[in-house]
Symmetry: C2
Subunit: 446 residues, 2 copies
């Protein structure tokens, strides 16, 4: 339950998505690493806050106590610390495991892919952070998901706000969690949780509310930098200064149109220390999908400067910033859209079916297909000694194979092949020698 | 222990191997499926014989009892039965888990990739079987691993031999296991295990020995078809008849030069019912590697017509044949060779580094790199506001980036970019507008 088999149509679409993501990561010069799906149990403990109960543990069958990885960020931090690496730009695409209540209609499963890109190292402020946002922008654009918005905030700004509103530091994290709900529920509910459950004073809550409901761009950053209270707070000032720098870089990248400085963004995980961000898809006005799927955010990330130090015996820190693409949620949306439009995914890439019109021609088919494979052409044949021509052409139509290479007695005698365009039914006889260079460009769309 | 992190150089080489394997599987028109790494414990039980003790089990944390998959064949059979699929050509590349004693120098780990291609369905004899061998031959050729040999046998022939040698059917499987050791130990040892441990009569053992030490091609098959005893045995006759057909197809594919009908090949797993095969690399005479790694077989497979029926409530059978490529062992060999030759793997594909020769030019770099990314060019820059030119060029040399696009004050004023070939140090000034189309073909080697 909560895990699933992926049939060919799923896998083909997902592989296409993953290929686009990998292409972007490589375009930005990232190396790939791979870590085991099994981690020592102690590596994962104390990194995810309350979510520890969602970790899958392995039975003690002798040897180390093991658990399935929960995300790719903690294994990355462990990898850096173990190998004393202080500088790395890497991507990692792999499955992670959570004993969650799966909400499968929203694309949430217990086993799912994460696509992570992270930059580790001590660099000049906000340059790597800006690249992570650029990557996120490129991927969401490349996948043609429609309009999207990337919300950006900074943990230091949030903590600064809490401080100037008189919240004790011990309540920063829990207040953060409450603020994070603002994308789902109205301010009144968030306020009453702050006052009721979290024990904040109504005045403090109202004061927080004045800030966290703000969103905008460079002009909002400038305004807050002039804010009489915030400008007195060291953390907030640092965060706002860096946010200004970030927006300058994003302007040079030409992507501020889809980016909003949003003070309600808080993100759940404990380990963020600076910039945080999250991408949401915007409902299209002309989207007439029958049951619009609510998928929440499709990507997120941020800066976590303290995590690597937790794995280093001497606590040496390696600053990191990264972005994680929620490929499963994006998959759900695309799948739903294709269902609505009736579009089908081809599950193979076969370019030509080798077919025969009469009996006793298996040897001719085997020889011809062998030549095609040798030339790098994607070719299939039916596994029957004497298949009917109609069945062979039907197979092409069912599986989307564009061409059939037909060899009958006459063709064998003449040393030619009959090449049939399955859609138009146009047939051309051509010498066998010409087939390879002719088929290839046609199929590959050159 | 027995699992490992894969650093960038590993991952880059492995991804290259996997890409070649996937290309071959796609060339043969296979669809891809994906199944969860977690299977119900009961699915895996009773499928692997004694190897059941090597299965990783998950802790009972409530819910179903789960285990990590042991191979990709059993999940495939379960998938076919569950979805009532009677006809499918699929590949699956994923990690499997075994609580084995890892022999890491031989490329054996507890977590490792399997690359499986299988054809399920009722077809005319030996056509899919021949394609599996063709695929194996193509992959081993494409990967340029040097000379290799694919040994082929048939479980029915082995069982026929055991029968005519007077072995009771209850001892077929255990005798099979003993025969399988012939590739590692001499016949005398195998014989004494048969007589001593397995309780066969010395005469029966000698009789078996006369058969299982034979290997050859079509002429051996013909000879055995005339063998006075074997020709009387129904199973052996069927197996030999199909083997003859297989060799006819392999001759049409032109690959019999690397294929040997080898009666000592038995394969460990219980579930094989017909053709079995295994590929070994042959030591090169001119291979002067310091410590030649013994890696055993690099691929194997066979026909298993009964496995799907074990998962079907009504026991409906779906005949299957498949091949599994031992990518980790192949990886070990290639890694060792590259070490010996001093060859290095590039871990990124970056085509150009965007660099500046003076201070205060970060904005120019950000703008230029953004344009390059937009044009699909793989580009990097250092995450420093004012990096030294020497450091930037050094980074190109360290990471194998072939080109540097340099923008200084003068270039900015003139609207040009200085393109530097890192290896030859030749520099060309060109208008920025020309850069994109010029860089692209050069980097891509067109």
């Amino acid at each position: 339950q909560g895990t699933r088999d992926h049939p060919p149509a799923h896998t083909a679409l997902r592989d296409r998505l993953l290929a686009a993501v990998v292409a972007c990561f490589k375009r930005h010069g990232a190396v790939a690493i791979d870590t085991p799906v099994l981690e020592l149990r102690e590596t994962l403990m104390g990194k995810y806050g309350e979510e520890v109960k969602l970790i899958y543990e392995l039975q003690d069958q002798g040897g180390e106590l093991l658990a399935l990885r929960y995300d790719l960020t903690v294994p990355f931090a462990r990898y850096l610390a173990m190998n004393k690496i202080t500088n790395m730009k890497r991507y990692h695409i792999a499955k992670v495991y959570r004993r969650d209540n799966p909400a499968t209609t929203r694309g949430r499963y217990r086993e799912f892919y994460q696509c992570d890109f992270d930059i580790a190292g001590q660099f000049d402020p906000m340059i790597p952070d800006a690249e992570c946002l650029k990557i996120l922008h490129e991927i969401l654009s490349d996948l043609q998901l429609g309009d999207f918005l990337i919300k950006v905030n900074d943990r230091r700004i949030l903590n600064g706000i809490f401080a100037v509103c008189g919240i004790p530091e011990s309540k920063f994290i829990t207040t953060c969690c409450t603020v994070d709900k603002l994308d789902k529920v109205p301010w009144e509910e968030v306020r009453s949780e702050m006052v009721g459950e979290k024990g904040l004073s109504p005045e403090a809550a109202d004061h927080i509310g004045e800030y966290v409901q703000l969103h905008g761009g460079l002009e909002l950053i400038e305004r807050l930098l002039q804010d009489p209270k915030l400008s007195q707070n060291k953390l907030a000032k640092e965060g706002l200064g860096d946010m200004k720098l970030l927006f300058e870089y994003l302007t040079l990248f030409g992507i501020t149109g889809e980016i909003s400085f949003d003070l309600s963004l808080a993100r759940g995980l404990d380990y963020y220390t600076g910039v945080i961000f999250e991408a949401v898809l915007l409902q299209q006005e002309n989207d007439h999908v029958e049951e619009p799927v609510s998928v929440g955010s499709v990507a997120g990330g941020g800066r976590y400067d303290g995590l690597v130090g937790m794995f280093d015996p001497k606590g040496r820190k390696v600053p990191c910033v990264g972005v994680s693409i929620g490929i499963e949620r994006i998959f759900s949306i695309l799948e739903q859209r294709m269902k609505a439009s009736g579009e089908k995914v081809r599950t193979t890439e076969t370019e030509v079916l080798v077919a025969t019109p009469h009996k006793h021609l298996l040897a001719a088919r085997l020889k011809l297909i062998s030549e095609l494979w040798g030339a790098g052409i994607k070719a299939e044949m039916l596994y029957k000694k004497d298949p009917k021509l109609l069945k062979q052409l039907q197979y092409c139509e069912d599986t989307g194979i564009p061409l059939a290479a037909i060899v009958g007695e006459q063709e064998l005698t003449d040393g030619v092949v009959k090449l049939r365009d399955v859609a138009t039914r146009v047939e051309v006889r051509m010498p066998f020698l010409y087939l390879l260079p002719k088929v290839l460009p046609k199929c590959r769309g050159c």
